[in-house]
C-alpha cells in the first residue's frame, strides 16, 4: 500500500522533485541522537556543572558578610582543619552513615531473603514493606522523635512492658542513645529500597543452582554463603553504596529530632554546612565544607567501584 506520505513526496520520491525540493539535510541517526539529547545534556551541564564550579570557587574566597569579600587561597580549608567542630562533625557523620547503612543492610537483606522464599502473598508483603519509603525523612524524624519521647513515648512503654528496662530512658538527652535514635529514623526510610534491590538480585538466581547444591548435601547456611550472597553481591554493593552516600549527607531526620544535640552528639557535616549558610552566613566556610563533603562521598564511591571491578575480574 502506498502511504499518504509517499504520494506527497515526503520521502523525496522522484515524482515530488518538481513540486518540492528534495530533502538534502536529512540528519543521520547519530546526528539525530545528538540533537534530541542535546537539550538534556545542556540541562545537566548547566544544572550540575555550574553550581559545582561556583561552590569550588567560593571555597577559596572569604565571603562572610562582615568583612569585604576577597580571595582567600586555602584560608577557609586551613581554618576548617583547625576547627574542633569540623572534626567532630566528620566523626559523627561517619558513625551516622555507617550505622544507618548497617541497620539498612540487616533489615533489608533479611527481608529480601524472606520475600524470595515465600510462595504466597508476595505482592502483599512487598507492598507493605515499601511503605516506609513513602515517608519524608523530616516526618520520619518527627515520628521517631515522638515515639522516643522520654515522658510520653511509646518505645519506653514497650521496653518497660517487655521488662528490658526498669525506668524510662531519655533517648534524646543521652549522647549515644541520641545517635542511635537518629540512625534508626534515617535507616527506617532506606530499608525498602535495599530490600527491593536485593530481592531483584535474589530472584535472578536460577533455581537449579540450589537444587544442585542440595544434591551435593548442602544445607541452608552453605547455600547462603556460597550461592545467595555471592550471587547478589552486585546489587547488594550498589544498594549499600547508595545507602551510605545518601545517609552520609542526609540531615532531615536529625534536623527534626535532635537539631544536632545533645551537646553536638549528633552534629553532622550536612548540618554544619546548613548552619554556615543559614545561621552564620559564612559562605566561604560553607563552600569549603561542601567541597569536603563532595570529596568524602567520592571516596566512598571509588571504594565501591574498586570492589565491583575486582569482583568482575574474578568472575
Amino acid at each position: 500500500m502506498i502511504g499518504l506520505e509517499h504520494i506527497l513526496g515526503r520521502k523525496g520520491g522522484p515524482r515530488s522533485s518538481g513540486s518540492r525540493p528534495p530533502r538534502r539535510f536529512r540528519l543521520s541517526d547519530s546526528q539525530f541522537g545528538a540533537l534530541v539529547s542535546l537539550p538534556g545534556l545542556l540541562l545537566l551541564l548547566l544544572w550540575v556543572g555550574v553550581p559545582l564550579v561556583i561552590v569550588v570557587v567560593i571555597s577559596f574566597y572569604r565571603y562572610d558578610f562582615i568583612r569585604p569579600t576577597k580571595f582567600y587561597g586555602f584560608g577557609n580549608y586551613i581554618k576548617l582543619f583547625h576547627d574542633r567542630v569540623f572534626w567532630l562533625a566528620v566523626k559523627n557523620t561517619f558513625i551516622f552513615s555507617l550505622g544507618s547503612t548497617f541497620i539498612t543492610f540487616l533489615f533489608g537483606f533479611t527481608s529480601a531473603w524472606c520475600l524470595s522464599r515465600i510462595d504466597r502473598g508476595g505482592t502483599f508483603f512487598r507492598t507493605l514493606m515499601m511503605l516506609p519509603w513513602a515517608v519524608p525523612l523530616i516526618v520520619s524524624g518527627f515520628i521517631w522523635g515522638w515515639m522516643f519521647n522520654p515522658t510520653y513515648g511509646v518505645i519506653n512503654d514497650i521496653l518497660l512492658k517487655l521488662g528490658a528496662i526498669k525506668a524510662p530512658l531519655d533517648f534524646t538527652a543521652d549522647p549515644s542513645l541520641a545517635m542511635f535514635s537518629v540512625i534508626l529514623a534515617d535507616a527506617w526510610t532506606r530499608i525498602p529500597f535495599l530490600t527491593i534491590l536485593v530481592l531483584a538480585g535474589l530472584e535472578r538466581i536460577p533455581a537449579e543452582l540450589y537444587e544442585a547444591a542440595r544434591i551435593d548435601g548442602a544445607d541452608i547456611f552453605h547455600e547462603l554463603r556460597h550461592i545467595s550472597i555471592p550471587m547478589v553481591k552486585g546489587p547488594l554493593l550498589t544498594g549499600l553504596l547508595i545507602t551510605s552516600v545518601f545517609s552520609f549527607r542526609s540531615i532531615d531526620a536529625i534536623f527534626s529530632m535532635t537539631q544536632g544535640g545533645p551537646a553536638k552528639a549528633t552534629y553532622v557535616l550536612g548540618l554544619y554546612t546548613v548552619d554556615n549558610i543559614y545561621r552564620f552566613l559564612n559562605f566561604g566556610r560553607a563552600g569549603a565544607i561542601s567541597v569536603m563533603l563532595l570529596l568524602f562521598c567520592s571516596l566512598i564511591a571509588s571504594a565501591y567501584v574498586y570492589f565491583l571491578l575486582k569482583e568482575e575480574r574474578w568472575s
Binding site: 506520505e5 547519530s30 546526528q31 541522537g33 545528538a34 540533537l35 534530541v36 539529547s37 542535546l38 537539550p39 538534556g40 545534556l41 540541562l43 545537566l44 550540575v48 555550574v50 553550581p51 559545582l52 561556583i54 561552590v55 567560593i58 527481608s111 531473603w113 524472606c114 520475600l115 522464599r117 515465600i118 512487598r126 507492598t127 507493605l128 514493606m129 515499601m130 519509603w133 515517608v135 519524608p136 523530616i138 516526618v139 518527627f142 515520628i143 521517631w144 513515648g153 511509646v154 512503654d157 534491590l197 538480585g201 544445607d219 541452608i220 547456611f221 550498589t238 552516600v245 549527607r249 532531615d252 550536612g270 554546612t273 546548613v274 549558610i277 561542601s290 563533603l293 562521598c297 564511591a301
Partner: protein, 286 residues
C-alpha cells in the same frame, strides 16, 4: 554439628520466612500505625501515660477541630497545594526532558553518548547538600529566592539524572524491531517515539514520573532554605514549624504527618509493581 543441623532445619523451614517477615513488618509499620493512631486522639490523650494503643475517644479534632484542626484552622491545605504544584511540575518537566534525552542517547548513539550516560550516573553521587550554597546564590542572582519556581529549579537538578538513568534501562530493554517497523511504515524518528515507544512503555514511564514526584514531595532542605513566606511553603517545611517550644500539639502534628505520607502510600499501593521495576531496572546493574 547437631546444633547446626537443627538450626539449618529451622532456618530452612518455609514458615520461618513468613514468621520473620511478620516480625520485620510489625517493626517497620509500627511508626506509620502510631502516626495514624496519634492523629485520631485528643490532645489530652496524647499526653496520657502509659500511652493508649487505641484511642479511648476516637476523634477527628486534629483534622477538623475548628481553630485547632489542621484542615480548618491552619495553612496546611495551602502547604499541600504548594507541595502538589512543585512536585507535579518537577515530575512533568523531568520526565518529558528525560524521555527525549534517554531516547537519543540509547536508540541513536553518537560519539560520546556512552560517556554522557555515565555522566548522568556520576552526578547522582554528588551530595545535593553540597550544591545548596551555589544554588542559593544562583537563585538569588535570578531573583527566584522565595518563589516556588526557585524550588522547582533545584528539584529538577535533584531528579533529572536519576530519571534519565532509569529511562535508559527501559529504552535498552525496548524491542528495537517495533521502532524499525514504525520507521518502515513512514514514521519519523520522533513520530516513532511519540506513537510507538511512549504508548508501549506507558506504565514504566509513569513509574518513573511517580518516583520523581515522590522524591520532590519528600524534599525538605531546599524549600526550607529558599522559601520564607508562609503561603509558599510545601508540607515538609510547613510541618517543621508545628513543633512548639512549650507545648507540641502531637495529635495535629501527627495529622499533618498523615497528610504528608498519604500520596506516597497511595502510589505504592496502586503502582507498587511498576515502581519496583523502575527502581531495580535503573540500579540493579549500575
Amino acid at each position: 554439628m547437631v546444633l547446626r543441623r537443627w538450626a539449618a532445619r529451622i532456618v530452612d523451614h518455609k514458615a520461618t520466612a513468613y514468621v520473620l517477615l511478620c516480625v520485620i513488618l510489625a517493626v517497620l509499620l509500627f511508626p506509620i500505625f502510631w502516626t495514624f493512631i496519634t492523629s485520631f486522639k485528643s490532645l489530652e490523650e496524647t499526653f496520657h501515660w502509659p500511652p493508649t494503643y487505641f484511642p479511648h475517644r476516637f476523634t477527628f479534632e486534629a483534622y477538623f477541630g475548628g481553630r485547632r484542626g489542621i484542615l480548618t484552622g491552619s495553612p496546611v491545605p495551602i502547604y499541600l497545594m504548594n507541595s502538589l504544584i512543585i512536585s507535579l511540575t518537577t515530575s512533568f518537566v523531568v520526565t518529558a526532558a528525560g524521555i527525549l534525552t534517554a531516547y537519543g542517547l540509547v536508540r541513536y548513539p553518537f560519539k560520546g553518548s556512552k560517556a554522557a550516560l555515565v555522566l548522568f550516573l556520576l552526578t547522582r553521587l554528588i551530595p545535593p547538600i553540597a550544591l545548596l550554597l551555589p544554588f542559593y546564590l544562583i537563585l538569588r542572582y535570578l531573583g527566584l529566592i522565595n518563589t516556588r519556581t526557585g524550588v522547582i529549579f533545584y528539584t529538577i537538578y535533584l531528579c533529572y539524572p536519576l530519571v534519565v538513568w532509569m529511562l535508559k534501562s527501559f529504552f535498552e530493554a525496548f524491542p528495537g524491531e517495533l521502532i524499525d517497523a514504525a520507521l518502515v511504515d513512514g514514521a519519523s524518528r520522533l513520530g516513532a517515539l511519540l506513537r510507538v515507544v511512549i504508548p508501549t512503555m506507558a506504565t514504566g514511564i509513569s513509574a518513573v514520573a511517580i518516583i520523581a514526584f515522590l522524591w520532590t514531595w519528600n524534599e525538605f532542605l531546599a524549600p526550607f532554605i529558599f522559601i520564607n513566606s508562609d503561603v509558599l511553603k510545601p508540607i515538609t517545611v510547613g510541618i517543621y514549624y508545628f513543633v512548639g517550644d512549650e507545648l507540641t500539639y502531637w495529635n495535629t502534628l501527627a495529622a499533618a504527618g498523615v497528610l504528608a505520607i498519604i500520596p506516597g502510600i497511595i502510589f505504592f499501593i496502586v503502582a507498587q509493581r511498576w515502581i519496583v521495576k523502575g527502581l531495580t531496572a535503573g540500579m540493579g546493574k549500575m
